[in-house]
Symmetry: C3
């Protein structure tokens, strides 16, 4: 196996277990190459276009770093709304045009399904960097890579997903991807922001154990990995409910005393206050390493799709 | 002949026939090199600055792809208005400054004549990527390149230019450039949006046959190439006149039944609805190929000006 | 000596005399290499991130040109405010994230001290490209480089700093840097916009001669170098005072008749009207050369910090 099963990266559930193993093994090689400052020239002469119809500097820079670390070049559209789209051009036409300039396209767009529209418009690889409330599959891959790297494996782990599980694109895709492994889940959220039944059903089908709770403290004692996400005030119909709950989902150094010493703390970033700053220098605070892992994981994807 | 006759690319009428032949031959070589994935390293160590005082993602990316396909580097200013200009700096000063950073400058600016101001401020090549209602000479060159490639020649063809011929920078420059060939023109537009008499006069001086008509259907039967452009509501003093005419200038698959089988359909893009989507998969629908041709044509220009 | 004394470039007063000599010697080498079109490949495989939380196209392009002239790559954030910061992320977190993508970081930020916050968040080099009313140390270095190049030395010169000396970050940093040399200063400003006493005190401690005056004409007769800066209307409590003074700080060709023939005229750019356009073609009008000197000086800094 030296190829992915699809030409595009659109959804977390598209990956076979072989795909996943191939991507993560390749990412590990590239991480070693970066650490030893070995020059990589694999994508010399190739161009990646990054089309961001909504801003996401973190994701854009991560892709652009990955492409350049492989010797490739980039075309950047950091605010694609100020472009032809504003003149009434369809996404299909925009992508067919960019197809003439680049060898692969990264797209971030506020509308669900837009990455699939883009993928159908071109024979070249399209990578979904977030389509609204839909998917963000490269984030899930780097999350999984981080778990495997920090914990030396994914199988056998108890993984707590914490926060707004109802609206969180990141936790949906990650739960989907992790369902290919022998993990247990703790879904930790307010009652009104529980994991959607569709995702829960998929987890059950795979025979994955899970438990739902509102109590972060309880979950902390059991988890090998705790994945924090943000709860946004605007998701609550009732402001009083938000005020009652918001502090319950802040992870502090004091709270981590009852966690396993080997716990890995993750967050997709940016954080606002979901993780207290005093957690940052604990050995298990992995969120900045997690973010940096985006580079080798995206290098692996680009190399597999383009070379 | 291995050099252009001027240091800059500012206007469609600056090109001698030798210039044109040189550019298009070189573009053809680069297109072949791109198709065979041959590495080009001609502009290694050179930097192109793209200064866009109004957004035009398509044109910017096309230039940036061209420069990078030749091994060169880019400096991008995609929204130049948020720069020194807003602090009161003149265009002359801005260009003299960028002259210190780059080996050539692409400029897009809302004011007619701004590219010529820029060219006088520096000894380095300046390429006009659109100066308001003025010129867009690299667009005309890629249009011409497309005609020659799709039809194997330009001489002898009947070329219909359709839409708002009064305000359309693109059709003005293209008519000017094509006047160096033995073509016939059909100018198809509403009476109030006819081709300016200055352009018509130039065409006549060259001894080029042309006819003006309001009737797209009529033109369709004769044309070898049909070049569609947009008619904007705001160009009409009378809204009723716009409503009466707008559908008459939409090209559909049904309407193309009466065209020559070998017809080439072009459009500078972005399109709104001037060409129905069902035209896209006809063999003569050349507009996305046309857009992609911008890369080898701009590679040719950059290579000729910089190496 | 082949290394700078610090990992970052944050303030003009951080440089030892050895640092300064090393940077300027290296800049001179790179300028010669650029002039002879010699390929430089020193930073091949390295990535520089330019994070601009407020726009400054000139400074950004200068750094990006410098990095690319050395064979390195760039990640650009030209409008960083439309990023994670707007989602409530701290600067510390942003920098720790970018640390995962790039080998060095240039930061421009409206808040004083922000570059130091950034430098503490990463072990990688941080270069301050302006922190509000604080510092802009790379500008001072290129100013000093320009003085030495135009006048063949800095020691022994009489240098007039003209304009709003109270708020001008540029003149504060330059005065600080020049205090390491045996110069004399003329501080030329309205009474209400005099050089801050802190800077004057530092100059005195170093035993540097200086004189303060409101009269530009008087200073012109004595200066070897005249460094013009802008006086902004909004700095005056009293509009009448602004109207009285604004023309007194405009340098004209006529006024330069009484200057030394060897005078060097400088300006950090952009200019509005502080220097009349008819000065531009005098041999001593060095401001566009000064701006271009930013490239070799920043190449020197990047090379010393990264290789």
């Amino acid at each position: 196996m030296t190829r992915l099963s699809k030409k595009d990266v659109l959804r977390a559930d598209q990956f076979t277990r072989d795909d996943i193993d191939l991507i993560l093994a390749r990412a590990s090689e590239y991480e070693a190459a970066l650490a030893s400052k070995r020059e990589l020239d694999l994508l010399r002469g190739k161009i990646l276009a990054t089309l961001f119809f909504e801003p996401s500097t973190r994701t854009r820079l991560s892709f652009e770093a990955a492409m350049q670390r492989l010797g490739g070049r980039i075309l950047t559209v950091s605010e694609a709304k100020s472009t032809s789209a504003s003149k009434g051009e369809t996404l299909h036409d925009t992508i067919r045009t960019v197809d003439g300039y680049a060898d692969a396209i990264v797209i971030r767009h506020p509308d669900i399904g837009s990455a699939e529209v883009a993928a159908r418009a071109t024979a070249k690889p399209v990578l979904n960097a977030g389509d609204g409330a839909g998917e963000h599959p490269t984030q899930s891959l780097l999350d999984l890579y981080t778990i495997q790297k920090e914990q030396r494996k994914a199988d056998g782990l108890t993984i707590a997903l914490v926060g707004d599980l109802k609206h969180g694109r990141t936790v949906h895709s990650l739960a989907t991807l992790l369902s290919q492994f022998k993990v247990s889940f703790l879904f930790v959220s307010p009652q009104t922001l529980r994991m959607p039944r569709g995702i829960v059903g998929r987890v059950q089908e795979r025979g994955i154990a899970f438990r739902e709770t509102e109590d972060l403290g309880h979950a902390l004692g059991e988890a090998d990995v705790i994945y924090m996400t943000r709860i946004q005030r605007e998701r609550f119909a009732d402001a009083a409910e938000y005020d009652r709950l918001k502090d319950a989902y802040v992870l502090t150094r004091a709270a981590l005393v009852k966690a396993k010493p080997s716990i890995t703390v993750m967050h997709p970033l940016p954080r606002v206050n979901e993780i207290a700053v005093d957690v940052d220098d604990l050995p298990g605070a992995a969120y900045f390493r997690q973010s940096a892992n985006g580079v080798p994981v995206r290098m692996a994807l680009l190399a597999l799709l383009l070379s």
